[in-house]
């Protein structure tokens, strides 16, 4: 019997360590800063174990019964801890509170285990043997768990099921103890039933683990995820709700299929239709092919060069049926040449001229992207403009990021171009802004391609009028050595999110 008791110690120790590792790992994944997370969680856990040990002296009678109940409780709480934490992160504001509350509770329970167990078996052995054996198996269990966790459990089972597996082990120890310590127990049958209930609940949990993970993840995006991929450059997620397809790049909404025509018509037509004889067009960014779709409406355009960093992005938008339906297979047109390259070096080294240039990059959320919104970049890009050429720049929201919008306009102006800022309303984005720029005066087009749903000749003048809440602000130009735009953009969005 001795060895069986000590195997219980080993298993119990392993469970205790696993719950701690699960909490630390999840917190690191979800909140980040793994050093901080592991330090504080280990600290809190050990401290709670101390409380548990101290509390054990308050338990005078029914040691074995209490032990079984503690094992069951731990099985339930520890086993479901991982799932609970993931759901808490997805659905509540109080992730940290729940995290540390869970860690405290589990710590206290784990702290109670070993003192109780030692007292249960103390009459069977000499004191020094109890201490030696219990602690030996305690540490052995910890070693086993700490090796199993990273090598087998996380890669094979994932965090949710790993926790549940050890919850099952805890509950198993409880059931086993009802036999092991039968002579010290009362109401044994009730205990065994409870054990079976817990085991069943955890077993069901194991079966549903995938669903729980998916539910938690789905809640980041409001809708069903139909496609998610990590490319070398970005995290690409496509969601669908009824007929609304949405693309997110690194969690930033790129378009919603319900209103993207507003964005892309406004991006392309006010400029392109004003170029007398557009033959060659350049698009920087815009790997979704939606701007290309609009440009293909001009039969005079002979060639469209699309430069996008991410080959995976252009590949998906050339091959996925749902997406090619959206962009009318624009990327497969023989007029389109896709080049997967980093825009700034490409613009710097290429010598071709273009009649229209579309600059459609993600918003300047970091210093890398910020380089693509500088006087240096616009100077390099404008060298590619033909005599009749115009370029248009996606310039973030003049409403939500008003300083940033006017900073981009000023940056273009600084390079010696004439600038014509305008804006449109895109329901899924809000008010959105663009800047047209050229070496000559811009005259609004008098005709547009047939079949447009948003941009019209009559409606054009209104796009160039800014109401007082979006009207120009004096801003400095953005330069490589100042990157004032990245800082401005960060402040703009901070202002409206709080």
């Amino acid at each position: 019997m001795g060895i069986l008791v000590f195997i219980s110690v080993l298993l119990v120790a392993a469970c205790g360590l696993i719950y701690e590792l699960v909490a630390g790992t999840l917190a690191s994944y979800l909140v980040g800063d793994s050093v901080f997370q592991f330090s504080t969680i280990i600290g809190t856990y050990l401290f709670a174990m101390g409380i548990g040990s101290a509390l054990s002296r308050c338990i005078h009678r029914g040691l074995a019964n209490r032990f079984v109940w503690i094992e069951l409780l731990l099985g339930v709480i520890g086993g479901f801890s991982s799932a609970l934490l993931m759901l808490a992160f997805a659905f509540t504001q109080g992730f940290e509170l729940i995290l540390y509350a869970l860690v405290m509770v589990m710590g206290v329970l784990v702290g109670l285990e070993i003192p109780l167990l030692m007292r249960i078996v103390r009459d069977r052995y000499q004191f020094r043997d109890v201490i030696a054996h219990v602690l030996t198996f305690d540490y052995l269990g910890a070693l086993g768990a700490s090796l199993l966790f990273p090598i087998l459990l996380v890669p094979r089972l994932g965090l949710v099921r790993s926790a549940m597996l050890f919850g099952l082990i805890n509950a198993g120890v409880a059931l086993w103890s009802t036999f092991l310590f039968a002579n010290q127990l009362s109401a044994t049958r009730g205990l065994r039933v409870a054990c079976l209930v817990v085991l069943c609940a955890l077993g069901a949990g194991m079966a549903q683990a995938r669903q729980i993970t998916a539910t938690a993840e789905d809640n980041i995006y409001a809708d069903e995820i139909i496609f998610a991929r990590d490319t070398h450059y970005q995290h690409l997620v496509l969601t669908r709700f009824k007929d609304d397809l949405r693309l997110f790049l690194n969690s930033h909404l790129q378009f919603s299929s319900r209103d993207e025509y507003r964005y892309h018509e406004a991006l392309v037509h006010p400029g392109l239709a004003a170029v007398p004889t557009p033959r060659r067009v350049l698009i920087l960014g815009g790997g979704d092919g939606l701007a290309v779709r609009e440009i293909l409406k001009y039969p005079q355009v002979e060639s469209i060069t699309l430069v996008d960093l991410d080959p995976e992005m252009t590949r998906i938008f050339s091959s996925n049926p749902m997406l090619t339906k959206l962009n009318d297979k624009s990327l497969l047109s023989p007029r389109v040449h896709v080049i997967n390259a980093d825009a700034f070096p490409w613009v710097d080294s290429n010598a071709d001229n273009f009649d229209f240039i579309v600059i459609d990059f993600p918003d300047p959320t970091n210093y890398s992207l910020g380089k693509l919104y500088t006087t240096a970049f616009y100077r390099a890009a404008s060298r590619h403009l033909s005599a009749q050429g115009l370029m248009v720049v996606q310039s973030t929201s003049p409403m939500f990021a008003r300083d940033s919008f006017w900073c981009i306009a000023q940056t273009l102006k600084q390079t010696g171009l004439q600038t014509y800022p305008y804006h449109v309303y895109v329901p899924s984005f809000g008010e959105w802004g663009f800047v047209l720029a050229g070496t000559h005066e811009y005259l609004r087009p008098t005709s547009l391609p047939a079949g447009l749903r948003f941009v019209s000749v009559e409606g054009l003048p209104a796009l160039f009028q800014f109401p007082p809440d979006m009207s120009p602000l004096p801003m400095p130009a953005n330069q490589l050595n100042s990157q004032i735009l990245v800082r401005t953009y960060e402040n703009d969005w901070k202002d409206i999110s709080h």
Binding site: Y29, L147, F149, D342, A376
Partner: protein, 504 residues
Amino acid sequence: MKLGRRNFLGLGGAALVGLSLKSEKKIAGSFVNDSFQMGHLLRDRAGFPAAKNTEKVPVVIVGGGIAGLSAAWRLRKRGFTDFVLLEMNAQAGGNARWGENEITAYPWAAHYVPVPSPRAEYVRELFEDLGVLRNGQWEERYLAFSPQERLFLYGRWQEGIEPAVGLTPKDRDQFQRLENLFTEFRKSGAFTVPLELGLSSKFQNLDRISFSDWLRKQGFDSRLLHWYMNYACRDDYGALSSDTSAWAGIHYFSSRESEEQGPLTWPEGNGWITRRLLERVGANIRTSQMVHRIAETRRGVRVLAGDTEFQAEFVIFAAPTFLAPYLLDNSPQLQDFIYSPWLTANLTLDRYPDSRGAEPSWDTVFLDSPTLGYVDAMHQSLRTQVDRTVWTFYWALAEGAPAQNRQFLLEKDWAYWKETILHDLERVHHDIRQCVSRIDIMRMGHAMIRPVVGSIFSEERRHLKRQNDRILFANSDLSGISIFEQAQYQGVEAAQKVLKRLHG
């Protein structure tokens, strides 16, 4: 940030396995560009071969660092091409040498030039030549991109190197008071770049006391203030503030306008300037030519290098001046030329290490590290997506006597320095060992002149600078501080003197 989760959950296992089974990644590398062996030949007065060939050439420039290259630039720009430049190493450039691998070009030593003030005429003229300055505008892509400098302190980052986090009101007050003092010195016009233009005996007493003593005398006792002043001296002079002349310490802060837009920099640091100069004067340069004797005759100067004797009318001695006693027949012993030993390392990174959430900066410094931090060569790249890079790690061995440090530098093997460098970086980038695939290390026993107390106003220097014989000294160490602008100034001045003498 929430989005990161999906990949985290997917990759979590792999990452954890990586963490728990941390395997030592093999890091390659070696010492590179060693030149002390050649220097020691001179020191030990080894036998050199007798001259087999003679070449008659009006002007010989000894040393192909920035001073020598600038002299050559000036000569050619004035239409004078009848000269040779002899460089001991296989690569010209001196402290502005560079390296290159499949990722990027990177500096071996000096890596930036502050935006020059209007008084630095020669520097501005050069930069106009090189297209860095056009119509009064500095080319944007040659200005250091933002974010430029960051300091790691108290477990977090701050922008800029002057400590701004965790200051007490007293610290703040002292930084402000010191800044006011520097502004006064700046207004005096006596602290200029090049320093010869402003040098005034009015401030000679500042050259008689060490920088740290001067600071203490002014009532500054803030630990952070002293750290920053000491850092500045280590960075610019390779010396502790207690070994630096107060005049030089003040010069660092009072010689330039607080420029918003600078400094000028390139992936390969000042190697970019070297490259451009080589395009212009390369035809006159002979590398791997160690000069072992320079002898004045009645008609001119004989310069012996390898088995060739150059018969020149004038020699511009642009090599470090401490070599003169070993080369010149009757050169006086030099007392006031003390040099700081340095170590630089170029680390090839296969990915950026964890930087605790911060975006990469150009220049990174750790508070209280004995090293000077590192510079990221890919920072000046125009690319938005950068996976691999090269970091140049700087370390002036400032603590202790230079001679002992030189000894130490040569004694320790590559593995020792590799470990020491990684250990320093590991304090902030815990996974640095997993990112680095190569570390090349350059040891420089006499990397830069040390502006010790008394050296700026030294009689010896004044005498050498004034010398207007057939041998003209031109190294930046003549001025007492080793910066690009000084090297260029001495080189151009020497070239102009030679042109004047040659053309009557």
